[in-house]
Symmetry: C2
Subunit: 467 residues, 2 copies
């Protein structure tokens, strides 16, 4: 899959010099460093930036942006490199601004259940920091992504069904615009009606409006009791129906993950999980001891009604960790299904009532294709992933994967859903975004981009074309 | 309190004629109709628009906006007229566009727990519609506001502590820009990472970016069991501490409302509630029978620890209705405290850990003032209201009310809070918004406004000055 190849460009000598002076060894034009920053977890061939700048403070971000603004050189913010739709490719050249060394906690307000962090801290490091506090941060995309990147792509994950996505869990953030201007949004208060919701505008903007330099997150109390369970079903439809009914009854499940048969096979063979090879749900329950018992009883009844197996329990922390670690690392297991393959991972989100039909129809599509494609996802939100396994050297397989992807997205849009629940647009879903929202809405997005970044310097070429 | 008086202006004859032809009797320049549309629930003297247009369809909104755009005449969207900070005053003249007749349900998706409505439907009418469905819409500002207006001001209310605000409960909306362009945002899916979050941009934009013509709301299951309780405390501090501890323990209370002593007196005398005349909390619990019992037991223990009275229960629906109706209509009771007075209602929201201090300090301020000012609010969110009761003909009292308001807001900002939790900026908090976010963030808001509404026609003069 080729992204557009940028015209070869040379950075102005004055800029190179100024950045080298500012950052010393933390400014690099070495090929290996550039190539590592011109890729993500998508299938795109890397497009390296012209240089990489590693920032260690907000002041350095401001300085880099001012310099690049002066020289009209694009800037691509870089966190952990785990995005999935080509977000990080330097399709118009420029500087990759790596903030992964900005990984500190700035202020922790346990009584307010909030924490202010730098953008480079990873979700796992954050929860490690919080471990003894009685609080945690629930959003968990599969990768150990950076919090800044999770803001930029409006990430969610397995817990979103109960705790919401990044949209609901950021109290405020600081962003640096293309010209180096520092913008503070939100506050430490839980809610506000004060002016335009600039925090929500930056969340999901994929680096196209500015660099996020500080984030204040909402935290949640660690549940008193946690337990996880696995059960298998005679069909994907029965599994999905169970989750739909769980949600409709208002049962506050913390996680409800669907794993299709192919995925169970992959997990069994890679992680030795010993799952039944059938459509399977992974559940997690959070609450008080009594609340948990009640949730479990209700879900058990729904599982039985839908022909599911007995629930297999993982109550001890290490069993739960093993289960969820397998789920989060499903991609590695799945890649073993087809030696030498690479995965094109797509995600859509549909209204709950249409989820079973969409998953079943996708399963049909996949069966009729020569591309193996495990299906799994956060079905409590109506969100599912299809992992298309293809030989990266086969044009035919790449084309077939694109065809399947198109069918999955167009089916989601036809039922009122969205072309991406949590991966974002990047380069890959630009046309689907237009299909979803219509040209006038995209033009509004462009006009906002022009207003905040008139020279189109911030991660140019992503989310939409500027025309 | 005078808003700027607009220059007297005459609408172009061609516009008057075109609007009259489009809307017939639903276009009015009658003085009474104009004056009714140039006021809200704030203390500002009314500033009437030049005419009022009543729309009955999205097509009519588009037609009105196109005509006004062509003639460069401002448009002020109007729902139910219950805003509190001067949002509806025609400070730059123009047309008030009243959408209250657009009050229909467009599509109800019970399995998806979502509903699509026109902007003029009121929150009570919506819940009346939903009564038999097992679902409800929780957001409840005191007034029976329109859903469109609630989007425009990012409203919340007593239930926000559990269910969130308008920000968290809108899946998508349709907005018409100043030039008549129709923008669709969001989808029917529960989450999305597809492009800029335009829905969140319109939520809280107070009519300055366009007219909201359709909204898809997230609904919630009606709880299996509901019960409400009242208890009084030896001090405001003890009451607030009880709520803070409740939240910190993760107890999912549905409502936690503080009523100060003065407010209990007002409610007793107007609604014959028979409350102890002391700082009081109104609680509401939602859940399963067992879940409820557990929540109640935990809250009871916290109440006792903080020296609160025994909980008085309102379990029957009519008792709960009586209690919450009194709470929602507290303003009417409060107005009786000072014959001939009017109320200037301010609201701030602070981090939970600073709430007790802020409320107590505000209470001190009020005691030292000659303005009676009951304090009450949604303390589970850190949000509280102060209702300044003043003689509208006394310049001195108006000035004293402004002084108190300034102290309340500045104290909130000093602890990292926001100048408004749910009322919005309107005309009254324009300077506080700058104080809260800083000039660069306001300039970003202005640049977005310019991008979407280059001629400054949509509710001009609100939220910020355009310079």
């Amino acid at each position: 899959m080729n992204a557009h190849t940028p015209p070869p460009r040379t950075l102005p000598a004055a800029l190179l010099e100024a950045l080298a002076q500012l950052l010393g060894e933390r400014f690099s034009t070495a090929r290996a460093v550039r190539e590592q920053h011109g890729r993500d977890e998508s299938l795109y061939d890397p497009v390296a930036p012209d240089a990489v700048a590693f920032a260690r403070s907000q002041e350095e971000i401001v300085a880099v942006l001012r310099l690049c603004h002066e020289h009209r050189v694009p800037v691509i913010p870089y966190g952990s490199g785990s995005s999935l739709e080509g977000h990080l490719l330097a399709v118009e050249g420029g500087i990759s601004l790596d903030v992964s060394q900005m990984d500190q906690v700035l202020a922790f307000q346990p009584e307010d259940m909030s924490i202010s962090v730098q953008p480079g801290i990873s979700r796992k490091a954050l929860n490690e920091y919080l471990r003894a506090s009685g609080l945690f941060f629930p959003i968990d995309p599969g990768a150990d992504a950076s919090i800044g990147g999770m803001c930029a792509t409006r990430a969610s994950g397995t817990n979103a069904v109960r705790y919401g996505t990044m949209r609901e869990n950021v109290l405020g953030l600081t962003a640096i615009l293309a010209n180096g201007e520092v913008i503070k949004t939100g506050s430490l208060a839980k809610k506000s009606a004060a002016g335009y919701d600039l925090a929500r505008l930056f969340i999901g903007s994929e680096g196209t409006l500015g660099v996020i330099s500080e984030i204040t997150l909402k935290l949640h109390p660690q549940p008193e009791a946690v337990s996880a369970a696995v059960c298998s079903f005679p069909s994907v439809h029965a599994a999905v129906q169970t989750v739909i009914q769980t949600i409709q009854l208002g049962i506050p499940i913390a996680r409800a993950e669907l794993i299709d048969t192919l995925t169970t096979q992959a997990l069994n063979s890679y992680f030795k999980l010993g799952l039944s090879e059938a459509p399977t749900l992974f559940f997690e329950f959070h609450g008080s001891e009594a609340g948990l018992a009640e949730q479990v009883a209700m879900v058990k009844a729904l599982v039985a009604e839908n022909g599911g197996s007995d629930l297999q329990w993982a109550t001890a922390q290490e069993d739960r960790n093993r289960l969820w670690s397998a789920r989060h690392n499903a991609l590695f297991a799945i890649l073993q299904l087809k030696p030498g393959c690479r995965a094109s991972s797509t995600d859509v989100c549909v209204p709950l009532s249409r989820l079973a039909d969409c998953v079943v129809a996708t399963d049909e599509d996949v069966r009729q294709s020569n591309i193996p494609a495990p299906i799994f996802g956060h079905v409590g939100d109506g969100n599912f992933h299809v992992c298309l396994l293809l030989d990266p050297n086969s044009a035919e397989e790449r084309e077939e994967a694109e065809r399947l992807n198109r069918r999955i997205v167009e089916r989601a849009l036809a039922v009122g859903g969205t072309c991406t629940g949590e991966h974002g647009i990047g380069l890959h879903k630009i046309d689907y975004l237009v299909q979803e929202h219509g040209e006038p809405a995209i033009e509004v997005m462009r006009s906002i981009k022009r207003a905040l970044d008139p020279h189109n310097l911030m991660n140019p070429g992503k989310i939409f074309r500027m025309n």
